[in-house]
Amino acid sequence: MKHTITMTINGESVTAEVDSRLLLVHFIRENLDLTGTHIGCDTSNCGACTIMLNGHSIKSCTYLAVRADGAEITTIEGISPDGTNHPMQQAFHDQHGLHCGFCTPGMVIRSIDLLKNNPNPTEEEIRWGISGNLCRCTGYNNIVKAVQQAAKEMQKESQSV
């Protein structure tokens, strides 16, 4: 059964015909060629496929593409449209918050959502906040430092606006 869906991805409107059973992560990667969103466990455990849907981080491997009709989606490619680094990306770079990078897009998207709800989290709150995103390289310490740096930077930004 085919459905016509329209959604906004990274600021651009996209219309496509999809099967009922097509998963959002496959739509994003295979139909739109936005391969920054990764598939890790495919069972909503690892968080590699995390994207922003209507302002909330979600795991796109556990979401039907057809249900995203009308949604506004941001993937890692869309968080800093002008080619510069988002403060969260810059913080991951500065703090060496990645080794292989496979978890990083999901980790960055999730961390941005975390700071939206809690702009100044404690270390413990950060660890709980990213508990659905697995990293098998860093041991998380530098990721936590990166989120702390980004929190500071983003608070400065929001105060100067």
Binding site: M1, D19, S57, T62
Partner: protein
């Protein structure tokens, strides 16, 4: 992993959803957040021929005190519960449990109603509902009905809901001056299903003597279980 083929139907209202369910019969399943059902479909543990998406129905997402009850709209997400000032202040048992349910991105989609209607003894919310003696409000072919939580869970993924029934609201007795509860969960890793979990709700009188107690258990039998004998003590 990709689910087997099914037809997708978006319901625009409760009536519309019930009509769709009637048309497609027992091969149809309602989906709200889908974070229990879709993983089962991907693993081919479930292969419904029709999915009726109820997540876009307006007016089923709320957290409010009304009369003698805390009323929770079925489509309220676990995250909305987590960040609700009312829940944080007066119903801390939910905060205990939700922090331990899956992870924040899953909680952004998974709903309180779905967590209960799925009928999985491994889910966390059913034990809380038992402890607080909640009432489930469902709407079906013959209008609305209210189901006491002790009559709701029938077996492994089986509940009192008929195929066309939609869980629309959960009613929990309103917090009293000296009432409260907690949820404790043993899990192998953060965000996992409970190896076992226990929800306890107590109400004290002015002298501090326990007047009411409710104890619900997660994942220790095929259905969410009330610890009757523990409550009697």
């Amino acid at each position: 992993m990709i689910p087997s083929n099914f037809s997708y139907h978006k319901a625009t209202s409760i009536k519309d959803a019930i009509a769709l369910s009637q048309t497609h019969g027992e091969e149809a399943k309602y989906m709200s957040g889908g974070h229990s059902l879709l993983p089962m479909m991907k693993l081919r543990f479930a292969s419904p021929e029709h999915i009726i998406d109820i997540s876009k129905i307006d007016g089923l997402s709320y957290i409010k005190e009304e009369g003698d009850f805390l009323k929770l709209g079925a489509l309220t997400t676990q995250s909305e519960m987590e960040y609700s000032p009312l829940i944080k202040q007066k119903y801390a048992i939910f905060s205990d449990a939700i922090k331990l349910t899956a992870d924040p991105s899953v909680r952004n989609v998974g709903t309180i109603g779905g967590n209960i209607a799925h009928g999985d003894a491994a889910n966390d919310q059913p034990a809380l509902m038992l402890a607080m003696r909640a009432t489930i409000i469902a709407e079906g072919l013959n209008g609305q009905k209210s189901i006491p939580i002790d009559e709701f869970f029938h077996g492994f993924y089986m509940t009192a809901l008929e195929p066309s029934d939609i869980l629309i609201e959960i009613q929990v007795p309103k917090a009293k001056n000296r009432s409260g509860g907690a949820y404790h969960k043993v899990e192998r890793k953060v965000g996992d299903y409970a190896t076992a979990g226990v929800a306890v709700h107590v109400e004290l009188d002015d002298s501090g003597i326990c007047q009411e107690i409710g104890i619900g258990l997660t994942n220790v039998s095929a259905v969410p279980m009330r610890l009757d004998r523990g409550e009697d003590i």
